[in-house]
């Protein structure tokens, strides 16, 4: 399953919150990826996520595949919201 988010934080998906999201993702066994402008990276990899240089206003897609995909996606949505990276209805799941 896949969900779209819009990055609203003016600093983009920057280092500290990115780490939190990556850590949250790492707690799940599902395969989790982040897609941005056609490039897809492993959401459990801090280098992967940071390498995309995602700025404010970017549209990102989080894809989850595996046994705990639903929980994982909810947890990531919450983490994105709690870290202030994405606001708005995106994260209400």
């Amino acid at each position: 399953m896949e969900k779209k988010f819009i990055v609203t934080d003016e600093a983009g998906l920057h280092a500290r919150p990115a780490t939190k999201v990556v850590n949250a993702a790492s707690r799940y066994s599902s395969e989790l990826t982040l897609k941005y402008k056609g490039r897809e990276v492993n959401l459990k990899s801090i280098m992967g996520v940071m390498s995309l240089g995602i700025g404010q206003g970017s549209e990102i897609f989080i894809n989850a595949k595996g046994e705990d995909e639903e929980e994982a996606l909810v947890a990531i949505a919450h983490e994105l919201r709690d870290q202030g990276i994405c606001t708005g209805p995106d994260t209400n799941i």
């Binding site: 897809e40 990276v41 492993n42 459990k44 801090i46 280098m47 992967g48 940071m50 390498s51």
Partner: protein, 316 residues
């Protein structure tokens, strides 16, 4: 899973910067996009045949074209040159530091298509432009993995996150091999059969090692510890489940993995405690190199065995 993208979108001004070309006219057009990897030399068009004009390509004008142009009468010059300036034409490049005929300059400004000049001869100029375009406009994708140059073999290490790709790469770098990219490798197809990997700019020279954090490879191991890009000639997949499939015990058959349109040799190394991953990857790389040089150890081993059995049979 794999999405094919163009490596970069490029504009005429990128080409100008890269190849240090001089802008002679049509400055307002330097933001035009370059969409074709191919070049055109519009000699036949100057002779009046426009049926095959490749208007979307960069037009290269060398001594042949200029000499021919000078033999045309003024009316032909005006008419034919103007016909070269099309909606999709990105730019014109003159070689040899030529004095560019006025009619070209006038049209450049009129249609806002840049006229550029190089001091190179036509053939090396075309090679430069083509090499640059081939790389920038190549089909590209990205993959999760670590790319290391091991004894000159570009090894893409793959496997689930947390399996120890970066740690293996760190050990390899410590042994004098070179890191290209950690955890996200941009791969482009320079030509079919030739894949080149490089790092996204933002993470170049950095690695993440769990428990330690971000490591600056250049500061720690020296400038010689990284490479900007490298052709990928071996993919090594690290796997944890010991019984997930039968491993190739002899290494006779060569598995391949398709990335973009290119097949690359592919091996799976099972991970177990006590196996030294860096050494295994080094050996895999050297083995790959030997094979490239024509030495297939596994085949040799089997041939020796068969020969031995045959002799034994004959002596019965």
């Amino acid at each position: 899973m794999m999405e094919m993208l163009r490596m970069n979108d490029i504009k005429v001004k990128d080409l100008i910067d890269e190849l240090q070309l001089e802008v002679i006219a049509g400055k307002d057009g330097i933001n035009r996009w370059i969409t074709s990897k191919m070049l055109s030399r519009p000699g036949i068009e100057l002779a009046g045949l426009f049926d095959f004009y490749e208007e979307d390509r960069i037009q290269i004008i060398g001594s042949k074209e200029v000499t021919f142009f000078n033999r045309l009468n003024e009316d032909e010059q005006e008419k034919r040159v103007e016909q070269l300036f099309k909606e999709k034409t990105p730019c014109f490049i003159f070689s040899n530091h030529f004095d560019i005929p006025q009619v070209f300059l006038n049209n450049a400004d009129k249609y806002q298509i840049p006229i550029l000049r190089s001091d190179k001869h036509t053939t090396p100029l075309m090679t430069d432009v083509q090499t640059y375009l081939a790389e920038e406009l190549a089909d590209s994708t990205n993959m999760h993995g670590v790319l290391v140059d091991v004894h000159g073999v570009g090894v893409l290490i793959r496997g689930k996150s947390g399996i120890g790709k970066s740690e293996a790469a760190l050990e390899l770098v410590k042994r004098g091999h070179k890191l290209i990219a950690d955890d996200n490798v941009i791969i482009y197809e320079k030509e079919i059969g030739k894949l080149v990997g490089k790092s996204p700019k933002l993470i170049q020279k950095y690695m993440e090692i769990r428990g330690i954090g971000i490591v600056d490879v250049v500061q720690m191991f020296g400038a010689g510890a990284i490479r900007h890009k490298k052709e990928i000639t071996l993919v090594v997949n690290l796997e944890i489940e010991p019984n997930s499939h039968e491993y190739d015990r002899l290494g006779v058959e060569e598995a391949k993995i398709k990335i973009l349109n290119t097949e690359v040799p592919f091996i799976t190394i099972p991970i177990r405690p006590g196996r030294n991953l860096a050494t295994l990857i080094e050996v895999a790389a050297i083995n790959r190199r030997l094979r490239y040089m024509g030495l297939n150890t596994a085949q040799q081993f089997i041939d020796n065995f068969n020969e031995y059995i045959q002799k034994k049979e004959e002596n019965k």
